[in-house]
């Protein structure tokens, strides 16, 4: 028996020694993730790293709305559902604002992804294939785009060109001029490796790189960065001119915002960079806009366009509503620039939506019942008007809103409206044309190319050429190009920065918002003279800012506390960021 005791004891000791001596504690190769160092050496790795930078391009701050669709809600063109929550009204734009923090952190997340990728690729830059160089260039341009938004929204910001080391976490702000110059040169350098139109839809291409230079340089030009205003306008004009002729406009404006339209080649040609949304794939992104839901028997409407936007659309004769004989105060949607109907719905319009099946209803801002088309019987029937008489009615376009619904992005009928997958543009060719025109106008160079560019955009929707009285008149051309940018790109995310560039935040936001005629008046009750005054001052006139003072008691009023403070020219740096980086200085006024 003693022998067995000994054997057992030895076995235990052997087990000890065996395990102690093995590499039992080295388990790194069981990690299912890749290790960063030395990873980006081949084309596949570089492609996947590039995709990783694209994957957060949406930067959804509110629900599933892409970042571009939110920006206009910080301007006079559109309204949040809750009163006094836009811009300064109610005092919500402070350092503790959580949406501002989300924009900030998502932009920097994307910058960091790009930096980590570029830092990882750097040692191998000399050995990259042509395709790899294209991917690297795409990432550099994307990073430039994110920095552009950062300097446009916050001014001077922390600036990293590579992944920071721990001693670089707390840095002071870098001048926005320095950053702008860097990102312009980044786009110029990167454009070399890119095609005019990307083979893979959704990728950054040469048109976007130059288009972005146009957009960025307009910012520097308008705000006179470093006293180099003219220089930037020149850069803007030249960059845009390179793209002109390389791409073309879609034939039909409305095609740009619906799934079936986006499948067409002409739309592809206009869409310079889109955020790709996908509904049938393995991961679903829902472009859940929440625009005008109630009216279309779906949920609550969370965002509304303003009457200021609606009244900016010209009549079909090319004249502003206060100047055109075609304007009908009782039916404001009649005889208007077709982009009005493509962008907005209002009382009396017929709207079709797909909430699982097709529904066509007449939008009604006043009555408890409305008309619905019965697809089975082919007849119109009376139905309950959800905008007036439902649990969600308080959030409808007529109650919470100003009497208008955002139709852009919402006219989708091939897919369920709460689950649509149309791509959302970041840049369209129309912007190149108008951006070129604006730069040239600011440079004082009113040649035919300027009129051609604007005419292309107007003619596409059936609007007449630039009128004769504007030819050669810089002020009038400036007025027109600004008006065109507003109506062409409403809810596409350009206006917030345009508003700042043009310095018109005070005009747009100084007063409460007015909207549809009140219940007792209705559109029928307006008199022919109840037309907004666009000529309160030259600045109002130049920037098409309507004033409703003369008949405001007939109109619904919203945001009574709306006010403007010069500090709103920049967003506040989030308080949490100031807390984490004591070297940051808050923007003036906050």
């Amino acid at each position: 028996m003693k022998r067995y005791r000994l054997i057992y004891t030895i076995c235990v000791l052997l087990a000890f020694i065996n395990i102690s001596c093995s590499d039992f504690l080295d388990v790194e190769d069981t990690n299912s993730s890749y290790t960063n160092e030395g990873f980006y050496t081949n084309e596949n790795a570089i492609r996947e790293g590039t995709t990783g930078v694209y994957s957060n391009i949406y930067m959804q701050v509110v629900g599933e709305l892409a970042h571009t669709t939110i920006f206009d809600f910080y301007t006079g063109l559109a309204l949040e559902r809750n009163e006094n929550t836009t811009i300064g009204a109610g005092g919500g734009l402070n350092a503790d604002n959580s949406d501002i923090l989300k924009f900030w952190s998502q932009l920097y997340t994307n910058v960091a992804r790009a930096n980590a990728f570029l830092t990882g690729v750097k040692p191998n830059m000399d050995n990259l294939s042509e395709k790899s160089l294209q991917y690297v260039s795409e990432v550099r341009v994307l990073r430039a785009y994110y920095y552009y938004l950062l300097i446009a929204l916050w001014g001077d910001v922390p600036f990293y060109m590579e992944s920071p080391t721990p001693d670089q976490y707390e840095v002071e702000k870098t001048s926005r001029v320095e950053i702008l110059d860097f990102i312009i040169s980044e786009c110029n350098e990167s454009a070399e490796y890119l095609d005019w139109i990307a083979t893979d839809r959704g990728r950054v291409d040469k048109s976007f790189a130059y288009g972005l230079i146009n957009r960025m340089a307009l910012l520097g030009g308008s705000l006179d960065f470093g006293g180099k205003s003219a220089e930037y306008f020149r850069i803007a004009a030249e960059a845009a001119s390179k793209v002109i002729g390389k791409r073309s406009l879609a034939l039909n404006y409305e095609d740009l915002f619906v799934v079936e339209g986006q499948a067409k080649a002409d739309v592809r040609n206009e869409m310079i960079l889109e955020m790709i949304y996908n509904v049938d794939g393995t991961n679903v992104h829902r472009n859940w806009t929440g625009f005008g839901f109630v009216s279309r028997m779906q949920g609550q409407t969370s965002r509304h366009p303003s009457m200021m936007l609606a009244d900016t659309y010209e009549c079909i004769d090319g004249k502003r509503i206060d100047e055109s004989p075609l304007y009908d105060v009782h039916h404001p949607q009649k005889n208007r620039d077709p982009r009005f109907k493509a962008t907005l719905w209002m009382h009396g319009d017929t709207a079709t939506c797909n909430n699982g099946s097709l529904n066509t209803v007449i939008i009604n801002a006043y009555d408890g019942e409305t008309q619905q088309y019965n697809y089975t019987t082919g007849k119109w029937e009376v139905r309950n008007n959800d905008d007036i008489n439902s649990a969600a009615a308080w959030a409808s376009f007529t109650n919470a809103g100003c009497g208008y619904i955002i139709a852009k992005y919402s006219k989708e009928t091939s897919q369920n409206i709460s689950y649509t997958s149309q791509n959302v543009p970041i840049m369209r060719y129309a912007e190149i044309l108008l951006g070129y025109a604006e730069a040239k106008i600011e440079l004082g160079e009113l040649d035919q190319s300027v009129y051609d560019a604007i005419n292309q955009v107007r003619n596409r929707v059936g609007m007449p050429d630039v009128s004769a009285d504007r030819i050669g008149n810089i002020e009038k051309m400036r007025q027109l190009v600004r008006r065109e940018r507003k109506v062409e790109f409403a809810i596409e995310g350009l206006h917030l920065i345009d508003m700042r560039r043009w310095g018109i935040g005070d005009l747009e936001n100084e007063k409460p918002m007015y909207g549809r005629p009140i219940e007792e008046i209705r559109y029928e009750g307006l008199s022919e003279t109840d037309i907004p005054n666009f000529k309160k001052s030259d600045r109002h006139d130049l920037n098409d800012i309507p004033d409703y003072e003369s008949y405001k008691e007939k109109l619904k009023m919203r945001d009574v506390n709306r006010y403007w403070d010069p500090k709103f020219e920049l967003w506040p740096i989030p308080q949490q960021e100031l807390d984490r980086n004591p070297k940051l200085v808050q923007n003036k006024g906050y």
Binding site: G299, N384, S418
Partner: protein, 1096 residues
Amino acid sequence: MNRNKSIRVAILCLSLTMAGSLPIDAQKVTFHEGFISLKQAFEKLESSSVYKIAYNDSQLDVSRKVSMEQEDMDVLQVLSLLLKNTGYTYKINGNYVIIVPEETKTIKGKKKHVSGVIVDTNGEPVIGANVVEKGTSNGTITDIDGKFALEVSGNATLQVSYIGYNTQEFPVARKTDFFIKLGEDTQALDEVVVVGYGTQKKVNLTGAVQSISSRDLVKRNLSSSSQALQGLIPGMVVTQSSGAPGATASIQIRGTGSINSNSEPLVLIDGVEGDMNSIDMNAIESISVLKDAASASIYGSRASNGVILVTTKRAKENKLSVTYNGYVGFRTPTSTPNPVDAITYMEAINQACVNNNQAPQYSEEVINAYKTSGADNIHRYDTNWKDLVFDEITLTHNHSLSVSGGSDVLKTFVNASYNYEDGLIPNNSFKRTAIRSNTDAKITDWLRAGLNLNIRRSIQKDPTSGTNSIINSTLRFTPLFGAVNNDGTWGNGQNGINPLAQAIDGGVKVVDNNDIDVKGTLSLTPIKGMEILTSYASRRYENKQDKFQNTYDTYEGGNFVMTYPTTKSRYEEWYQLIKNQFNAQVTYENTFNKKHYFKGFFGFQTDELKNKSFSGSRNNYYYDGYEEMNHGDASSSMVNGYTSKLTMMSYFARFNYTFANKYLIELTGRYDGSSRFTAKNRWGFFPSASIGWRISEERFFNPLKDAIDNLKIRASYGSLGNQDLKDYYPYASVLALDASYWFGDSKNYTTGIYSNALSNPEISWEKSRQFDFGLDITAFNTRLDVTFDYYIREISDMLQQFPVTYAVGLTSPWENSGNMRNNGWDLSVMWRDQIGKVRYNITAMLSDVKNEVTDLYGNKYINDNNTTQEGFPINSWYGYVADGYFQSKEEIDNYPVYGNNKDNVKPGYIKYKDISGPEGVPDGQITDADRTIIGDPQPRYSFSLNLGAEWNNFDFNVFLQGVGKRDIFFSGAGARPFWMGGTVYEHQLDSWSEDNRDAEYPLLLIDGSGGGNMNNIPSSFWVKSGAYMRLKNVSIGYSLPQSILSKSGLENVRFYLSGQNLFTIAKGYKGYDPEGDVASYYPVTQVYTFGIDIKF
């Protein structure tokens, strides 16, 4: 005062096993003790022989002084000498020496033969219990089957006593056959407690170790063992924050042990890491809690937050015994906030609109329609979501059957249990079935084997939309949303989200957990006093999740609104965790020169943990009833998977030395290696030392010995490590794989990778050092028991992720930086006694822990509403200091306001104090410089009070528990009316107005997202006291009298009624449970149960 209590008999198992291995022939002893008490003399004899001496100190005067000067003398001879002239002699029964009276007196009256069996509370036979005819020295002790036989006089009373149990008396009268169940003493001097990798006599402990017997747990009648621990150990805070079926409680020992790393204690079930809640309480023999570093340091790097050792039951005897415990009960929420009805809601919203200078949201006509004709549930809804979704009363039941028995070579204990709990909402339940078997085999005299097998399965059922999300919607949704239309169709809720429809028709998620643990041990005794033990344990845990998202159609105003969600989908996930543990250890113990007790222990252990998961999903299920994976749209398929591994290796040793049972010393060390760190930083050594002094054993203490049975002071100091991070590879910078995008016209899925976290190759152990000073007193014949501990716990090189600036864009790396201190004290006082026929016990516990961050390298964290700064508790609430409300426009004009725009501030807004500025002095503005620490979220002064009483066949228990000081920051729906488009609660209507200037809430305003309502910035206004006292448990039981039982063949039958969370005193907002989460939660429940315990 001198009651018949301390009958000194050895601990059963120990002595029986020793009996098997040691010869019982004459043993020689030598003593040079001089004059000592008889009691001490007996102890000496016990310690130097195999004999265990049993006596009844109510009769024998053990304090009398005897001379102990013997040279090389037979033990029994010494005993004879000691008992000379006492009127007592001894009898030998196996290993027991029983001191009995000399047969001198003749017993008067007619003699009568009585016999019987004595069992303990678990119905196990009690060996060596003392049975004496009261008032005489006539007595005997029970044999190995717990049986006794005695000749007594006709009118005698039997006095039954046994160590650790209360002495009981039984009049003989006409009865001759007795079945006696001993009432357990909750504590006694000879108690043995489980410590790391072994056991120790409680009196010899030098660390802060406290133990709980299964009895304390079982009487709570809870399905979750973690909940049952609440209030049983001072310094251990157990919080039950959810009433979800199958929910577990969180446990913290001696405060928060880490900022970012795990701060829950290590739970070991029979030496293997496990889950407290996987065990049926009836299968638990005891639980030990190792609180200080010295006791826990044998577990080194794993034990920084304390250790809970669970020992499961094993068969002790050959006799077959069967017990059944079962209860059935119902549960109901403790408190939930009360949402208002539709009219009140609309009026409140309108008021909020007016307060914000905007037109009312609801017209007079709408409100009047409600007032005159009420809700029609077609256009107008007045939904009481709470009533519709919550079941006020839900079922719970639990059954546990244990069988134990065997032979001398093979013994088995088997427990099978079933537990079921119904949730508060439809399609929500938890059930658990478990079988545990512990088998012991004696292969040879020197080789033993054990096999533990635990098979557990639990099934958790929830609505697919998520229980928490449904409850959140239920409590938050406005009454104007439709739940059910008058034609029976679903209402549209909010944007199609209808929590009632989601719960009933939205599909079900079933999580099936399967757990198999096996542990085999081999124990070898090569020479006397030495044991070599090896064990291998393997746990295979599998989690299978099946989720089908069903759609439902909603209607409003008689019209179809939508199908929600738009598509049906299926998701399945499989997750496997494998844990293997190998352990080898050697123990040697011996006593040298009679006084020097020595025990040495050395061990080695490896741990291996592997995770693997796989999941898949499909969307677009077009045909009702066809819901399997393959029925879905193939183009929407998605698969995912990952794997990870962690290993650890450890060497550990312990050395105990005891001199003359008075001076105790213990040294422990553990050397741990973890794969979480690079080779250079991998290993850590964690030593500790502790000492104890049993003052009561000193000669000078003798005068006090009658009153104080035991007095011990002890002190310990040790260090521990912590490496328990979420990350398995924190040193490596890895690329995240979950980034994809869809390029091309056909939107092709393209996989992407990206960096999302910073890494730190230098990462290593977090260390904690703990000093503990303790005092144990047992007095008045063990009726009073006091334990007090003071400790200082220093945590250094804290594992933390410093929040880096958002501009860095990646999540922070792990760092070892910063120090923190927890100091506090634990006190428990127990008293038990008997008044007439009522036996009672009272246990009071009070503990405090104060947390302070001592070093953060000058940094500070500020996270929205909390901060971590040097000199303050971690995560202290942080914000502005509220100074009541602005009462008038003049006041606003004369006072700085947040945001600087006075036009935006109205009377009824919260006023913030200007306490500082950029220059450190008030600057007339409310800016970020005016923020300060506004509260401490850590619970202080945890207390509990346990009262137990027994009278005849009734038993009664009351348990109170609470926290003396704590600050809660209320946010979200918990604090803010209309939060995120939600409703308003009745208590929130107490808002500021001209006529209600000291209201509980500020001016009623609509709460938009993003910002805009400056009353909602973090401020002291929203900090409320979280102190509470709760009547946690009341139970009353009745055991059938023996006269009924003896006919039925049953040994014991007890019925009981029990109630949990019956009554609470708290100070927070109404409707919020002080233990629950603030903003959204599964309500904590009251539980009422009726149960029965049966033993065959």
